[in-house]
Symmetry: C2
Subunit: 356 residues, 2 copies
DNA sequence: CTGAAAGCGCTTACAG
DNA sequence: CTGAAAGCGCTTACAG
């Protein structure tokens, strides 16, 4: 099949119509203003007219030009996403959601991923995006904790929203899950299975999410009273490697432990790996549970964890940003709002009742 | 800090300029046609004029409107990316590259990720993108092998390019690395370290990439002559789990093996995990190497592997697609072309000379 | 509820 | 090498 034949097909063109609102108007016997009104869900259109126009659109498989709309409404916006977090999977999901949100809102996403923990790079990257003229920006944990970065962005009139941080913030909008509640539920799951001696690997210090998860754990344990012993707690850093080390400590110090809860999945994978290396079977000898649901399928047995609807978080973030960009451009004040998205406990194979 | 103060800052506005080419023209004392010409790198502009205009642009921190340009040039295009491949990391990198390519070309990326192996979903997803009116599409392995899908897309006049497939194809453009050569080099690395008994985990059957890697392995082994024994070969399926199983087979059947080469990193991770479980130290007792460089940092010791510049592959793919879309819209024939991108051997900690 | 008209910020023949 | 003008496909006051 040669290029030429492809080009012939082009002329056959049952392709996605390149009709414009003018064509629709002609076919429907109305003005293009009216067509535009149904496109923008404008109230003041006679229901019959609307139905008629909609029908024609369907027939022609009309697909409106985003460029034209953006130009006309001045709602064109590039929005940045600087990412500096250990987890690829979290990033990917977030990106997917942000992408969908962008495509719905006519925004253009500009992404830069920095090596985890390299704050200097992250600042540079953010500044360069500002130079490039972005109008909004998603700040994913831990960047959402950088007060100076936030101030700089606000000074440059950039609409930002923090992702993976919640709490009462007055300087920027946030979207996240309820980490406290989720951790609380996970511990209850373990206790419900009969675990009494539980190890906990704390998340990266300084992240509010880590703090909130830890608070949730404590709350559940306290509520369990005598059904649970004092937990064996080790500080982790959200990396696979720190999970390995944490498990090493927990398992060599305390032979009674029957379940380990790691504050994220990467660490849980590390915990599992070390448990295996030490000859423990999961979950028969020890239950291992994580948080995030970002490594499903690349760990075995499959991990019990908390699923964050990360994609939804990303889409919501874009939505909030665009609302604020539009507000600002219209001369109005942006709104600061906190969104909490629902999480889900994913009970899989890595958790089971303790031996005997 | 209340919303109101933010809004006040808005008015201070040292923000990214919202100047138009008209403003630039006025400041530079030329017509906006001329400004536009320098923007489009049009030849026929007096070097002095060009420099002048460029200077003004810099001063004002001018950032042209993509919407206006797209509208004017009719180069607006949504391009789809349907993905159905086990590796998250590969996907992410590809997406990053595609995103950058899109942002450079004014394209809008529409992504859909399907569960790996679910071809039915992948077809549905592709068809729905076609309904939505995309003009181009990236087909990532293994979808780039689906002759029927390709035909359907071409029939709908969609510009496609295959990613992760090479070979002489006449129906679509492709971009990939030289899998044969890379595998060949990896085996040479192992032989160079002194390994004589090598295990190989084949990639998912049916993928040309798997086939090419396997051919490269054979070539290197053949060339090594008596320095290498006949390899122990096991079929894998590109998943972590299949790597676990493969290592189980290889290591229990053949105690002489000192190195295992898995056709991708997910399988290499599985191999490593099983090796550890069986009490082998990596790399002291056994070297483990992979392919793709997609899991750096989440496996330990760090994996020796082949780095694919996946992001670059993604960006190139978008570039090719946009060229073809423009060609088609201009009534010209699209070009079919094959791009091979350079790979790199990443020698890390998981490979070392065999014992004694 | 609906039309006619102006405008969004670019590009690109067409003249000169 | 450069300007004036038309046009890309929408949206949105402004009248009616």
């Amino acid at each position: 099949m040669k290029p030429k034949s492809v080009s012939k097909r082009a002329k056959a063109g049952k392709a996605p119509s390149s009709a414009t609102i003018y064509d629709i108007a002609a076919r429907a016997g109305v003005s293009k203003s009216t067509v535009s009104r149904v496109l923008t869900h404008n109230q003041s259109v006679d229901p019959k007219t609307r139905a008629l126009v909609l029908g024609v659109m369907k027939d022609v498989r009309f697909s409106p030009s985003a460029a034209a709309r953006n130009l006309s409404t001045r709602s064109e916006a590039r929005i940045g996403l600087v990412y500096s977090n250990p987890s690829v999977a979290y990033f990917t999901e977030l990106l997917m959601g942000a992408l969908e949100g962008s495509s719905r809102n006519g925004a253009q996403l500009v992404v830069d991923r920095c090596e985890a923990g390299n704050l200097i790079r992250a600042y540079e990257s953010a500044r360069s995006l500002v130079q490039d003229g972005i109008a909004g920006m998603i700040l994913a944990t831990p960047l959402s904790e950088e007060a100076e970065l936030i101030r700089e962005l606000l000074d440059n009139n950039i609409s930002i929203v923090g992702v993976g941080t919640s709490g009462v913030r007055t300087d920027l909008s946030c979207v996240d899950i309820d980490n406290y509640r989720a951790a609380y539920e996970m511990v209850n799951h373990l206790i419900g299975l009969g675990h009494r001696y539980i190890g906990f690997v704390k998340g990266h210090p300084g992240l509010p999410a880590s703090q909130n998860r830890w608070l949730g754990v404590q709350a559940a344990l306290k509520e369990a009273g005598s059904r649970a012993a004092r937990p064996r707690v080790v500080q982790g850093y959200n990396t696979y490697r720190s999970g390995v080390d944490a498990a090493d400590q927990i398992l060599s110090k305390d032979r009674k432990i029957t379940a380990i809860f790691a504050s994220n999945d990467d660490m849980a994978a590390g915990v599992m790996s070390m448990a295996h290396r030490k000859g423990f079977n999961v979950p028969q000898d020890i239950s291992v549970v994580g948080f995030d649901d970002t490594i499903a399928g690349i760990v075995w047995p499959e991990l019990t964890t908390v699923r964050q609807p990360i994609a939804e978080i990303g889409a919501t973030a874009i939505q909030l940003i665009m609302e604020n960009i539009r507000a600002i451009r219209a001369g109005a004040a942006p709104k600061i709002q906190n969104h909490l998205i629902e999480h889900t406990l994913m009970i899989r194979e890595s958790s089971a009742p303790p031996r005997q």
